[in-house]
Amino acid sequence: MALVSADSRIAELLSELHQLIKQTQEERSRSEHNLINIQKTHERMQTENKISPYFRTKLRSLYTTAKADAEAECNILRRALDKIAEIKSLLEERRIAAKIAGLYNDSEPPRKTMRRGVLMTLLQQSAMTLPLWIGKPGDKPPPLCGAIPASGDYVAKPGDKVAARVKAVDGDEQWILAEVVSYSHATNKYEVDDIDEEGKERHTLSRRRIIPLPQWKANPETDPEALFQKDQLVLALYPQTTCFYRALIHTPPQRPQDDYSVLFEDTSYADGYSPPLNVAQSGTLPSA
């Protein structure tokens, strides 16, 4: 069965990951030695108050070694992160396969509708583990990293999370968090499922009503230009809900794991805006 082979593959990948992690640490302890040397040289240069050509060349060679070490370390770390992403995508595939298999097998919905709290925890976790974009020197952040919008011809894949503008029964339009089921090139329409209640009627929407969620977090330390700036208008996921509302950015995140602080448009407040609330990078989209 496909599910079983997926399991064994996942097990394989996990052990490969373990290897990579061990290698990473070896690399890091090796380069540690060189870094200590650099530190010592710095101290000597600073106390002696002179910089002889001897020191300069020595420092240069130390720096070069350190550079090579850092590059090697980066490479291994990237491979490890890629491995994790691979495992995750396999898990995701497995989940979707299980969902489809489940739908056909049971007459009842495969899972009882999740309790609110569980759903929220899941959402929070997936927001946290959105991969961080760490570019090599000279790389620019790609589309769907942080605030960078998707390219014009981008098509979301099944399983991707998107914000979908659906019409409620009473005619109101709302942006909800949804998961893509399929896309039809012929009609240019997506089929999406509301994240909240699976098994509910799925929506078929044209491309213009779909905004894909970011696939990477932007790193404020290296790519601040890929973040939304103060007072920019965005669509943000309201905390503890699965709906997006218009909001203004209050402060962008300072560290990679930080959230945006935003002000939601809210007529129940005097100035029309809510107090600052935290929204993860994965829940902040450019306003349509």
């Binding site: 061990k22 002179k50 300069r56 770390l77 992160l81 961080l132 760490i134």
Partner: protein, 370 residues
Amino acid sequence: MSELKDCPLQFHDFKSVDHLKVCPRYTAVLARSEDDGIGIEELDTLQLELETLLSSASRRLRVLEAETQILTDWQDKKGDRRFLKLGRDHELGAPAKHGKPKKQKLEGKAGHGPGPGPGRPKSKNLQSKIQEYEFTDDPIDVPRIPKNDAPNRFWASVEPYCADITSEEVRTLEELLKPPEDEAEHYKIPPLGKHYSQRWAQEDLLEEQKDGARAAAVADKKKGIMGPLTELDTKDVDALLKKSEAQHEQPEDGCPFGPLTQRLLQALVEENIISPMEDSPIPDVSGKESGADGASTSPRNQNKPFRLAKEEVNRQELRQRVRMADNEVMDAFRKIMAARQKKRTPTKKEKDQAWKTLKERESILKLLDG
């Protein structure tokens, strides 16, 4: 030896992330053996920790690259540091200024002067900051004394006018002066051609003939099975016919220029732009008129530049000889000076030589002036 304050490096603290504190899951996984392996539920935390490690490693890499770049640039730029020194002294007003320039010179040699002493640690930080600032400016505007370029540029621009005449240029002048002979040919008036009304009548006849032929061909084609391709062919043929006829017509007229120009002239005449030429079509006349005004055609004027050029060449030769004579005089002078230095009277030989060269020079100069 350069001082610490000159160093533009920032001496970053390159400590790597202490993974024991910051990445507990990572550490735990490391400790485990292969059999225990990693659980799926640990993936998320691992991911976060690895990302932290990676981002600190990339940052370290970037800083290292920047620092090595500064270090390389700095080593390459030692020559300009004198200006930076001056700039810095200006800013700081340090007392021991005279000590520094000396150190600069000694830098290249093996020995090293004493450092400014440890009594400057406080100002060190400030200085290193200023130094960094100046160094960042360096690649952009090196404070070299801007060379006064103007005289060079002036002489360069005037050069073409003052340069010696080469024999090539004389030859070019000669060739330019030759054309007067060729022009004589052009003045010949070609014989009268056919009057335009007659020629046009003829052409019209030919047109009608062609049309008739074409109509016949079309009629033929319609009978035949040929398609549109052959229409094109006949058109090509017609074009060729026309061309050949046009060419054929020329000898009749005895005029080297086509019928179009004739018609053009006639139109121009009718519009009173050109005065009528009594039916002798010389289309080139308009061109000639404008050309004639440009250059002066009198024989005297033609030859003047040529003569001047020749004269100038001679003068140049003389000037060359003067220069050589100058050199000889200088040599003689130097010899006498050397003799005087050695505290002996110059020999008769040397004196004679000196006089001789002087007299030569004077004679050449007289020739030149004459």
